[in-house]
Amino acid sequence: MSVTGDPDPKLAEYAHPERLVTTSWLAEHLDDPNVVVAESDEDVLLYDTGHIPGAVKLDWHADLNDQVARDYVDPEGFAELMSRRGIGRDTTIVVYGDNFNWWAAYALWVCSLFGHPDVRLLDGGRQKWIDEGRPLTTEVPTPAPADYPVVPRDDRTIRAFKDDVLAHLGEGPLVDVRSPGEFSGELTHMPDYPQEGTLRAGHIPTAKNVPWRRAANDDGSFRSLAELQAIYRDELGITDRDRVIAYCRIGERSSHTWFVLTHLLGVPGVRNYDGSWCEWGNAVRVPIERPGHPVRPPGGVGA
């Protein structure tokens, strides 16, 4: 049976209100057998220090990533993961996490690669739930395995690869959601912390910089529709005819922006380039833009 949406008036403004729930809606649906709550955090220990009662853990590194290739789990791996978490194809998944739902949005995006029909984000994430004094537990649920079909992973519709981005240059908007320092190329290497291993600094030519965090209020919830429109539609000039690609460093922050553009603003055809700067800044002979350095076409013969 499908689970009804959250009728909250703030959510109702968004293009796809069925993709979000409020903390109060979730509090009333914790015992709903058709709902599975999943926590996905940047800090891998946070779930174990206390989580929403009944919530399972979805770890981006250990669960969602392939452990050998730089890729996501394959269809068999995804089906097995979902099954172990007690999630069926008809289950409503509500994802939440730390750091403004950074990783929660990433987990939701990965579930969307497999076309999971009903996956929602908790508006405000872990922070808002805790700030409102709502309960946490350290009890880890042991769900009965569910039947989850092996479904193909669609890598075309919402995912972009390096070659897609190269072909996209000059054809449509590119949104770089990293911090201004990363975008301008000032940040290349901090002492003892080579930043996630990129050899070159700067950004992909034609990209505009809108740090992902601008879409969130201080309490972790998303900004209102009007505020989001002011940022992405007015300031950035994105229209529904554009085919936007968003990227960051490893694709998790840009999942957050992908969610905002796709589900809150209703922009069709937005893709997340999960290779992001970690791939681009290491790739040979791709163009890079940095203030004061004109973008050059590839040198050499046989380009």
């Binding site: 940047e42 800090d43 891998v44 220990l45 946070l46 174990d48 220090t49 770890d59 981006w60 590194h61 250990a62 990533n65 452990q67 730390d98 901090m190 002492p191 003892d192 912390y193 080579p194 996630e196 291993g197 490893i250």
Partner: protein, 141 residues
Amino acid sequence: MIPAPLAEIVEDFAASPREMRLQMLLGYAQGLPDLPDRYADQDALERVQECQTPFFLAVEIDDDRRVSLFFDAPPEAPTTRGYAGILAEGLDGATVDEVLATPPDFFTGMGLAELISPLRLRGMSAILAHIKRRVVELTAG
């Protein structure tokens, strides 16, 4: 050379099943000692800039050239607290030379890489490097 108490922690992790290792790290996070009163004012502590979460560290060296370490990190950053807890237990009381000789990749054998992404795991080397830098500064001249 990894100082003996730290080497023991590395071995404990290595010998434990995968599911246990995160629980052990959580144990170190929860067991991180509170700061002594003299560091109650956190301005007295140094902020480790490399860490994404606020993290504070103070180093003291006594007349026998033994190192004492003091850490603080918020409860919402349990992994960082866990790293600090491991280094607090593994290096506190070691000599200056022992601390400086600790290999930057001492944690490779702990089996954490399959649980924590390499990018985040690097936080451990960042903290160790910072400790070493403070030790060098304090013993210079």
